[in-house]
């Protein structure tokens, strides 16, 4: 095997080739075939295929595993009829409306919504909000950083809305629940 400058013009032209390009004239070989037996690669494929029922079982009976071979299923089939009902959370700090990003800056949108739903249940008769001292401090710290001011009271209010497909108008139906969190350490 020997090496020569690659992409260079004819040797008699006197023009140098690119210094970082070289061409190897060694005989190409398959990277694995000479070393692996016939059954190895099919076995890898079989293991991957057989792992699917296991992954799907865990997904259905426990939770979606990670990492796992899944794509977004969007399996819900909504039947909206003439209008779309939806829930919206309104966040206020000391009476001023804030964005969800101010409270949970490092989450993406769906993740933020799920955390908000866990912290502040939509219906008041569900389990009470899980705001322990550590979570309260995290929320206070996030708000102080985002708003550049010391927050005192966080209000979270879930509202039920409806979008009418005929008129394309949105209307508020009712308030589902409302929570007030004293960020200075008092009761909720």
């Amino acid at each position: 095997m020997h090496w020569r400058p690659g992409l260079a013009p004819r040797p008699d032209s006197g023009t140098p080739g690119r210094p970082w390009v070289r061409v190897c004239d060694a005989v190409p070989v398959d990277v694995d075939r000479p070393r692996t037996r016939t059954w190895v690669v099919p076995t890898v494929f079989a293991v991957v295929a057989l792992s699917m029922p296991v992954q799907m079982y865990i997904n259905e009976h426990v939770a979606e595993p990670y990492p796992g071979l899944f794509q977004p299923s969007f399996s819900d089939v909504f039947d909206f009829g003439s209008g779309v009902r939806f829930n919206e959370i309104v966040l206020l700090v000391d009476g001023q409306a804030i964005d969800q990003e101010d409270l949970l800056p490092s989450s993406n949108s769906p993740e933020r919504r799920r955390v908000l739903e866990a912290l502040f249940p939509r219906e008041e008769d569900e389990s009470p909000p899980r705001i322990d001292a550590e979570t309260r401090e995290t929320l206070r710290s996030n708000l102080a950083d985002s708003l550049d001011a010391e927050p005192h009271v966080l209000t979270a209010r879930w509202e039920r809305w409806r979008f009418d497909l005929g008129t394309r108008q949105t209307s508020r139906i009712r308030t589902l629940s409302e929570y007030q969190i004293d960020l200075t350490g008092g009761d909720q």
Binding site: V23, P28, V41, R130, N142
Partner: protein, 365 residues
């Protein structure tokens, strides 16, 4: 030929060259550098919400410290740097896949799992593809030490394709079971309306889609198309041509989802890029290398990674492009050209076949 030999032969069949894969390695690395995920913010999540999904992330019993998360992010950046220059490519690819999966897994430990899994599978599987065999420091070191040149390993590409097909099948089968094909319900319409109303997805073609929301046939056709595509890809894996047609259709599907539902899911399209014959665009002679010594390669990889990490974690990050939209558009253009080329080929082949019997027919004297 035994069955196992036929399967082995099928796994190893393919037309990828090491130059195709090396070019994709560089493209993938550059995209990964630009889109480096910020992990330090995970430490700011409420600790009570930390609930890892089933899998190796369960080994973490609490959110790691901010310092550890930032170290993980820096490690990912450095590994991407090594990947781009092709230094210790196999080990780098495997470590990169593990580091990225750890970072993603931690960020999904608060209830919501996103699904850009294909881009994480790419380094995991392509570690065995020989994508470090050209335009790399590895190729240079191998040549200097007299080792033979590495060629593309086709089975790794087939495995990646197979995994993509299986992952799509999980989504398609879930839709089948939940009644997407029921003629009385239009699932795509429901998801479109949910996004439009709940998540303010009003951009691009969304207002136009709202105007046709009562056209049941249109939405039902989309339901059937989606299920057919997601369930069919795993069958398409049997032949490279059908698989490439399948991912071309999938690229257009992702573009359509962007236009209609304003959901920017570009990660899959980046992974589909692995199956493009990149070297056909501007063929290069085999054996291109990056002739650096190991110490220089280490310094270069570290510098590239550290600089990227620095940019992402400073005010300079506002200059980084958000490439999701561009990836989807480029993917749709590539897919359209490829599909048109396939249609032209089929038409030409049909014409050729229809002419052949005539030419054989003896002309009347």
């Amino acid at each position: 030929m035994k069955v196992i030999e036929r399967i082995d032969d099928w796994c190893r069949r393919g037309d990828f060259t090491v130059e195709d894969l090396a070019r994709y390695r560089i493209i993938y690395g550059l995209i990964a550098l630009v889109t480096l995920p910020g992990l330090g913010g995970i430490a700011a999540q409420p600790a009570a919400q930390f609930d890892p999904p089933p899998g190796p992330i369960m080994l973490f019993d609490s959110i790691p410290s901010r310092g550890a998360l930032e170290a993980l992010e820096l490690t990912i950046a450095v590994l991407i740097g090594f990947l781009i220059i092709g230094f210790k490519t196999k080990a780098t690819s495997l470590l990169l896949a593990m580091a990225m999966m750890t970072g993603s897994g931690l960020s999904y430990s608060f209830g919501k799992i996103d699904h850009p899994i294909f881009v994480l599978l790419v380094p995991l599987v392509m570690a065995f593809s020989g994508w470090g065999g050209a335009m790399s420091v590895d190729a240079s070191l191998a040549a200097r030490s007299g080792r033979p040149r590495i060629e593309a390993s086709q089975w790794a590409m087939r495995l990646l394709a197979f995994m993509i097909g299986l992952a799509f099948f999980t989504a398609g089968s879930a839709k089948l079971r939940s009644g997407w094909l029921d003629l009385d319900t239009q699932a795509v319409r429901g998801h479109f309306l949910s996004g439009f109303v709940n998540h303010d997805r009003h951009q691009l073609l969304a207002p136009l889609m709202l105007r046709v929301e009562e056209f049941g046939f249109f939405w039902e056709a989309l339901d059937w198309f989606t299920v057919a595509m997601e369930c069919g890809l795993v069958v398409a894996v049997l032949w490279w041509r059908t698989f490439r047609i399948g991912i071309a259709v999938a690229s257009l599907f992702h573009f359509g989802v962007l236009m209609m539902m304003n959901i920017q899911f570009s990660a899959n399209v980046i992974a589909y890029g692995a199956f493009v014959r990149w070297n056909l665009f501007r063929p290069t002679p085999p054996g291109r290398v990056l002739p650096l010594s190991s110490p220089v390669a280490v310094v270069l990889g570290l510098t590239l990674g550290a600089a990227t990490y620095g940019v992402h974690n400073s005010d300079l990050d506002r200059f980084l492009p958000s490439i999701g939209l561009e990836v989807l558009v480029i993917g749709a253009v590539f897919a359209s050209v490829y599909l048109i080329a396939q249609v032209v080929q089929i038409i030409k082949a049909t014409r050729r076949r229809s002419r052949t019997p005539e030419s054989r027919t003896p002309t009347a004297a």
